[in-house]
Subunit: 126 residues, 2 copies
Amino acid sequence: MSKQELVVLGQDAESGTCRPGLVAAPLDDGQAAELAGLFKALGDPVRLRLLSMIASRAGGEVCVCDLTPAFELSQPTISHHLKLLRQAGLIDCERRGTWVYYWALPATLDRLADFLRTSSTSGAGA
Amino acid sequence: MSKQELVVLGQDAESGTCRPGLVAAPLDDGQAAELAGLFKALGDPVRLRLLSMIASRAGGEVCVCDLTPAFELSQPTISHHLKLLRQAGLIDCERRGTWVYYWALPATLDRLADFLRTSSTSGAGA
DNA sequence: GGCTTGCATTGACGTCTATCGATTCAACCT
DNA sequence: AGGTTGAATCGATAGACGTCAATGCAAGCC
């Protein structure tokens, strides 16, 4: 399942090569800029809470009407943060009647997790 | 030198502390603020390049004098970014004679990686 | 001592960003 | 059609952030 629109950031079409990871080799400018954009999207408490609320949802989808009242922020502000998360490729959304539903894009999250991991899941764990 | 604020990796605390991960449960305010601070430190291309240059170093240590000339930025700017990375608990440093050496703190990186991973050990071949 | 090098700190400046109120757009409902 | 609700967009504003030149500080060297 989950054949959503995973067409987010160019995985490694022509520039990214093979996603070396943080400890493997120094980043070039392009990789650093792209990854920094992703981390910047995560670098806000409100967006992090929004993303966790979306990603931890059992059904995989959350209505904006369930997200907005969880914060003491105005509706435009929440909408703004959701837009940034979507532009970063961390979530996607779809309008269904009156309501808009958001879901997480695990590919992007796992990509960042792989990038940050120092011990590459090979023997000698911990 | 003065004591910096390396109090980032609070592994105990009282709020959950299970490090549930992004998809496990919604974050509370405290966790979101703490993690957002870490991601914010990663949300800059220069800092990401600096961190990768430090973390990918074989010996584990890098002299500032090797980092600064790799950027077309002033020396104070590089020093500023290194300070932010250190305050976030991502790196640490030590003065050795005239030079200052930096190294990465893998614990913080792995913590973030664990937090972001959506599929725990789900070998998905690319 | 005085000089030089390496790095951190300070102060200032321009830009980016988070937030809001007001407005607009989309869909539903009489 | 008009009215209502849910969500995105627009403009404006206060604060945060990245960057630099100038300065300070520590360590080595003459």
